[in-house]
Amino acid sequence: MESLTHCMRITFRILVVATLALVLPQSSQARVDFNRDIRPILSENCFQCHGPDEKARKGGSIKTGGLRLDSHTGATRDIGGYAAVVPGNPTQSELIYLITAEDEEDRMPPKEEGDRLDKNQIGLLWQWVEEGGHYDVHWAYQKPRQPDVPRIESVDLRINNPVDNFISEKLVSNDLTQSPEANPYALARRAALDLTGLPPTPKEVHAFVKDGRPKAFERYVQMLLDKPAYGEHWARMWLDLARYADSAGYADDPLREIWAYRDYVIRSFNQNKPFDQFTIEQIAGDLIKNPTTEQLVATAFHRNTKTNSEGGTNDEEFRNEAVVDRVNTTMAVWMATTIDCAQCHTHKYDPISQEEYFKMFAIFNNTVDEDRKDEMPLLPLYTQEQKAKKRSLDTQIADLRQSFAEKLSGEKDLRHAWEQRLISEDGWIPLVPDRLDIETDSKAEIMVDEDGLISVGDNAAPRDAYTILATIPEKFGSVTGLKLEVPAHEDIWVLNEIELRTVTEAERKDKDPNEEVEQKKIVPKHNLIRPSASFEQEWYVAKDLIDGNRYDRFTGWAVKGNLDRSNQAAFDLAEPIELGEGEKLQIKLFHNFPNRKLKQFKFQLSNLVKPMPAVPFTLLDPLTKKPEARSRQEEAKLLRFFADHYPKLAEEQTAIADLQNKLYAIEPKTTVPVMREVPKSQVRKTHIQHRGNYLDKRAEVTPGTPAIFPPIPKDSISDRLGLAKWLVSNDNPLTARVVVNRHWEALFGQGLVLTSEEFGSQGELPSHPELLDWLAVELMANDWDLKRLLTLMVTSATYRQSSKLIPKLLEKDPDNRWLARGPRFRISAETVRDQALAVSGLMNTAMYGPSVRPLQPEFGLKSAFGGVTDWEPSVGEDKYRRGIYTTWRRSNPYPSMVAFDAPNREFCTIRRDRTNTPLQALVTLNDPVYIEASQALGRRLEAIRGNLDEKLEYGFQLCLSRPPSEKEVEALAGLYEDTRSRYSKNYKSAMKMATIPIGDLPQGANAAQFAAWTVVGNALLNLDEMFLKR
């Protein structure tokens, strides 16, 4: 029955569609091009329900996988007696029926999902099916091939390099023509702003304009590329992509020290580091064999993810969040592929499945960092001087130890006897406290067994102190050492501090319920010294148990990696303890890691004059061997350990400890969070997370990349290093195109692909696909040389055109897609600032180092759960540094730059907006930073020798890099005269205008005159032309 109805429906369809064919406009075009004509229609209107996402797919019989339109196989297969596309036969094709059906029930796309297709679209689809319904791989997923450079016959067109051939070809076909070359002044300013982010000095402009030799512009460009300012300018774009900021983000948004990464980016641009190397260092610098410090710093690229320290948040949740961000950012920055959707479900438009998303996730899922407030792991960076000092201390320590070892090397028997005592834990006896003498602040359940093993029940108080009281066994004598033993345990634990006291009965009652309040009567601690431990997790060492920080989460002892063994930490007492009448020993253990508290532990006491240290696991093996069975290395190791702990060498050991303390005391110049792979034993498994929920784990996946792209190069494995090489492999269809497009966008205001963030099927098609491919191949063939790429673009006749906009051009190509004129658009937020500092002469050109704080208005607010967001401005010259060095607080980015569309850098920013708002006008008119610049500029002009007009002319040259017209000079001269005469009647206002905030007037200066110069300086800084490159 069903099939009968179906047959009837099909017959009916054929009729409808056949009639329709008569009324449709017959396309006059040549053959349709799938990627140009068809994919955009299907992607926009159909893929959401008939695309790669199996779960969302609708239509057709489920058994056959539903109606699928994103692949040839899918579209042409039999889905229950019919097919979406029957090549060559539109009337038989379900697709054509559905988009034309008169029956509301059948008509696609459904009313509630979107607009109906128009006649033209239907016509194209019809023609496409008629012509065979061919599919092509999406253009961006095909490897770019070097196209032939088109020949340009016209002699009227200026052709400097192949860029112009490609551009000219399209100009001709669009009936447009090149604009004349821009005048040299405009060109000088344009290139300087584009390449260095600063206007050229009048001297530089002059030299270029007067350079009559051939290739003058090429030399000028080279001069700009060689400036250190080049790296500072281009780093800005990269830092947007890297979501670099000086704070950790989320609610409390604490400051984060990571500026060494910013400096790495600036240096890399200035060194013209090949982009493939730049890529590998940032994605996987730590996995390169014998990485340099610079390569390790580079990995901070992916440590710019946010860290959440809000109370009550789950570190694992936000570690996942950071990994997700790393996957998304990597795909966005290198491959302009929005992959985010695939976190929750298979991509609806592009062929990337959820499983493939988590394969990428798996690649990033195994770094040590875990959303910790201290941003571990950190790489300390030292100055040259410090490095030398460290080396010298290291040598001294090694020498000292060597000499003790030598001293003792003869006394083998003595040592072997000591080793026996070490292994038998000589002198240590267990402490067995009474259950009632133990309590925790959290009031957890407690048990003690006969060996003194203490067990503490579950409790979730975020911080917790355990208090254990005990008496010393009779005839034990003085206590000289304390040892904590933690049996093998599944769960990770972190202990933050251990304290030992002697307390009287009276003091015991004087409880200490809230550790934030000190005990009423302060009972002094016994000093614990000389820590030793069976094992210490990186950054979590036994020494930190006695550093006086009870609740600093990040100073403590932990043993991740050796949790499956019983661990020990032992301490000597600085002074032996003897208990008096009614006194007890009180041991306190402090925790500040929720869910990572000790659950089982016991103590031992020693009465040896020099207690035996805890034995490191690394020595257990050699220790248990007979001396003659040990290797030389093992013997040497044991000898060193003996020398470190043998009681008769106490003095020498102190000498070493002193040197070691000196070594620890060397504070690094800065630290930078870096990427580091976890040891093999701790590798995390990656699962598909159902709907992107990190708690809802489904099938396990292995690391890998999406199948639509060529695989990871053969000589690599699927780790970050393999991924990095994959990104910059010559087989990768996207990276080179994306890089080219981004640079093109920076110079011309828009990319050859408008959607520089999206090259997938939802993105725009390139306006000049051959040019894009030609440049991409050039880039790869020339070792990813970015300065060369920029030179190609900047020296093209296309770039050098005048940006003048005649009405015909505005009408025919308002957006300048075909580039019949030069680029002209607003400069970036940083450049607005830098330019004002540069032309006023205030700029401090110092490079690198900690971020600085220029003047900013106070809001009198705190960040949620965090510190004040206002700042003390940097003192002295630091407030005049370039914008790239301004402290970037995510919760409160520098307001004057935000007004000019600087992002907050919460996430990767591919493209900034370029708005034009009244709030911007208020910044450059009234912000004290710009008033100071106006004052400095005014004073600079006043000091020029010559009459008013000459001074003003110089002002135009400084600011706009060109001589002014008479009218322009007149306008400012009028302003100067009017303002001066007004100010001369009001000394007080004149003084304010001339000196706040810059400071005192030069000796004997006339306040009204300087006030007027400030107003003129302010006007110059606010000219429309200042905000643009022409």
Partner: protein
Amino acid sequence: MNPALENIRNTTRRHFLKQTFSGLGGVALGSLVNPHAAGRLVDPMAAKQPHFPAKAKHVIYLHLTGSPPNLDLYDYKPELIKRDGQDCPEEFLKGKQFGFTTGTPKLLGARRKWGRYGKNGLWLSDAIPHLHEVADDLCMIHSLNTDQFNHAPGELFVLTGSSRPGRPSFGSWVTYGLGSPNEDLPGFIVLISSGSQPNGGKNSFGNGFLPPVYQGVQCRSSGDPVLYVTNPEGMDDVTRRRSLDAIQQINAIHAEEYGHPETLTRIAQYELAYRMQTSVPEVMDISREPKNMIEAYGAEPGASSFANNCLLARRLVEKGVRFVQLFDWGWDFHGTNKSTGIGQGLVDKCATVDKPIAMLIKDLKQRGLLEETLIICGGEFGRTPFREGRTAASKVLGRDHYPDCFTIWMAGGGVKGGYSYGATDELGFSVTENKVHVHDFQATLMHLLGFDHKRLTYRFQGRDYRLTDVHGKVVQDLIA
């Protein structure tokens, strides 16, 4: 007075634009809308029509940062009061995560007097006595629920539809959709009291991927209300005008020579900035209000307070500002100290907002503005019906974060007054009637402003985004 100058002053922004355009040979505005164009040129704040006619034309959103305890203010639970101090039944804790509570906490009943107010007898506690007087205007939703139980994600979820930073806020969507009728003031203004930024930072009033003109402009209570709106020291209005004339004169030369529309926009924006220099300080100066009005709000000129911000909100809406967002810090009633306890702490905190909110409603009503102004008041989630874990042994009582049910109320703007919607179980653990998810709530707000929440979208990275993500159903019952 210079007649040319006078002429510029009297020229409105749009008129100004139009004149300059016709001077340029009548370029059609429509051809320049492409957002990628080098010189885009449409006034993004021009007032626009929504999808269908609606009553609400303005929004005042009172966000009480930290989340007020619904069970002590709005949602009366006699059974919970009766079982105060008993162990919390296991069934309510299973499989749930809380910020600061584990184990078995104790139930905590409200320690307040309750009464029924207004014609329809809405239940309200005695912590908010002034609200009793406007009960007939309140539209209570007791059945809200969210996906988030930490502050920052919770607040972002309520205000941007996503728990992660980076999406446009509600205010940005509304200004994007409706523009703003006042040409001399920003369309979306943010006022913050009690000393801290909202949990989501600037993201809570950010534009996300919408153009930055739609971001909330944060006005300060001291110093320049809008950044840099005041002339520098030593520059008076005449000098500013004179200097602008010189700037514009040169810009005009430039516009003629290069023919770029963006230059014209800049000329217009400088004029708007100039007008804002007068209009913003004027509207932000509450001392211009009659004394009794200031008192009725409990405001104090020169201070920084929620009361001042309520009065400002009324002044701004009166001037045509589209969206006023208030944030008030200090509603996180954990009971970790006296001021965050649900006893005196809550009463004291309520006293700083109760009177100004009630007055805001009355004042708008009196001016005939309540009908077209939607007031919303609430936090980012609810609070537990039990004592939170950390302070279980303390004398101060407090509640933990709770996502499953909470109360937000609305007034004016086309909602039913004196109306209570949705219900929770007798202990306040779960919604038993008319569940309203945050996305449903947002869909309803959009509807009240005349938008189909599914159709107010913005294309970003190849996808059409909207406030309600891919969810949301309009709650028709709330609409008058």
